[in-house]
Amino acid sequence: MAYRATETRFWAVRAVYGLGLGAVVAALEFALYAPLVSERDGIGLFGLVLLLPDWCGEFALLSLVVGYAEYRERPRELPAPKLALALVLGSIASALIWYAVMDVVLRDLLGLGLFIDHVGQQVAWEGRILYHAWMMLFFGGLAVAVESSQRRHGRMLAALRAAQLRRAGAQQRLAQVSLGSLQARIDPEFVFRTLSKLERLYASDPTQADGLLDELIAFLRQALADLQPT
């Protein structure tokens, strides 16, 4: 279920990206042509509404094509050459398909000649496809570059957090080991010196030696008791 939800989300995000970018480009196109056309044709802001389905549909198609390329590669990242190929092929295919939908089916067959003619000048179909493919390649390419660099940025931040966690872990382990070795250490030099002394003392004064050994054993018993919990 969760998988299905993320999948739906993936395609929804793709479609929204495409529609959004298409709307921005439609607004830019409108701004570019409006001063030339609107006063003459008297369509005003309505021209923007006419441009929206044209560009939004195309960019949504492109976005879905690029999304499909990414989807096939999941969970790995789509390598740059494949991404570029998807962009080029997607742009050309979207321009062709949307020309067929808007101009051939809607305008010529169904007679809904609302769209491009009212805003721009009448253009040849090759011209339209070429121009639209370029626009998609340019703006789509920019958007894809931004998106992939943003993703890279996110991955890097996650990796940075992981690296900082690892470093903190290493720091903690080091502190623990230092503490542990401090606790577990019975200075061998000290033991060695004491025992050498004990050896000499047993030869000269066994009673005092016995006392010293008592003390040493008591000290070690204490040290051992301290060690037990670790």
Binding site: A145, M156, P188, F192
Partner: protein
């Protein structure tokens, strides 16, 4: 202190990016279909070049404004973004106004609408390019931080290994020390002759052990001496329960050997092998050469692999140390001895001891 926002190297990269974007943007001229029938190719290319230079004027203006804005110190991210958008708009406006000196806008269009449409286009293009650049830059900064953090972690790990090794070296097994001393005291009270012998062998053991605790490498001879003095101590303590034999050819004793490796095996053989058995047993320490490897074995007739419950912390530590010192080829193998007990073998590459000798 916020990370430095701009540097000369990122200015250079930003300039290259701006140039690339302007270049690609200028190719739009070549994608107008009617062009190729109506004009000869050289004219088209010349027109393209002129168009590219015109766009470059605006792009350069935007870049200059953005770069200047990026050098301004701002602390809040939001204010910085607003500043950059403002810079893009100003740059585009300035560039388009410059361009208008050469290419006036078409007649009967309002100047404001004309400029606004151009600036809006530049705002989208430059904004996207800027976003791309900013993400790339921050990702690069994060990558550098990751690298620095990993370097620190590796250094910490190295220090930890060192601390572990150090604690391993400077440590006398506390139970061994404690039990021996308790024995010494008891013997001095009941049988002073044996007590003296035990104390003497223990001091001899410590004398052999101490210098080695400071070094990474010692000779096989030292290690064998250490094992011998250690077993001497135990022989006084365990009496008839412990039989010891050595089979170490004289010519092998100069070979380099990791310190306390043999002692770990010997201690293990006593602790897990022979101590649990009331009748005790025998330990044999042997060394031989196979091809380019020195193999040093400790065989006991003790309780065996199953009773000792596999390998303890000492064995795991030893394995890690051998791997750290000599790589994967070296190692430690534990197999069942016949008729009973364990045969442990350390394999290390043959190298004459250098200055590691104490």
């Amino acid at each position: 202190m916020a990370p430095q926002w701009m540097s000369w190297s990122s200015l250079w990269r930003g300039g290259l990016l701006a140039l690339a974007v302007v270049f690609v943007l200028s190719t739009q001229l070549l994608f107008q279909f009617g062009l190729y029938g109506a004009w000869p190719l050289p004219d088209i290319l010349a027109g393209w070049l002129a168009h590219f230079l015109e766009q470059l004027v605006v792009g350069g203006c935007i870049f200059a404004f953005v770069a200047a804005a990026a050098f301004l110190p701002t602390r809040r991210a939001l204010r910085k973004h607003a500043l950059l958008i403002f810079a893009i708009v100003l740059g585009a406006l300035g560039g388009e106004l410059l361009l208008m000196q050469r290419l006036p806008p078409p007649p009967d269009t309002s100047l404001a609408v004309f400029l606004a449409s151009r600036v809006a286009r530049w705002l989208v293009v430059a904004g996207l390019a800027y976003l791309y650049f900013a993400f790339r830059r921050q990702a690069a900064q994060a990558a550098a931080a990751i690298h620095a953090s990993d370097l620190q972690r590796i250094e910490l790990d190295r220090r930890m290994t060192e601390a572990r090794l150090q604690s391993l070296r400077s440590q006398i097994e506390p139970h061994f020390l404690f039990n021996t001393l308790a024995n010494v005291q008891q013997l001095y009270r009941t049988d002073p002759g044996r007590g003296r012998r035990l104390l003497a062998s223990f001091v001899a053991y410590l004398r052999t052990a101490l210098p080695q605790m400071r070094h990474d490498e010692t000779t096989l001879a030292h290690e064998v001496d250490l094992a011998r003095t250690y077993l001497d101590v135990l022989q006084v303590r365990m009496g008839e329960r412990l039989k010891v034999s050595f089979d170490v050819p004289q010519e092998l004793t100069g070979i380099a050997f990791p310190p306390l490796a043999l002692s770990t095996l010997t201690e293990n053989a006593i602790k897990h092998g022979l101590n649990p058995l009331p009748e005790g047993g025998a330990i044999e320490i042997s060394a031989r050469i196979e091809e380019h490897w020195l193999k040093v074995g400790v065989a006991d007739t003790g309780a065996g692999l199953r009773a000792s419950g596999g390998s303890g912390a000492g064995i795991a530590n030893l394995r890690a140390r051998l791997a750290a010192l000599y790589g994967r080829e070296s190692g430690l193998s534990l197999v069942a001895n016949s008729p009973r007990g364990i045969r442990a073998t350390i394999t290390v590459p043959i190298r004459a001891a250098g200055n590691g000798e104490a």
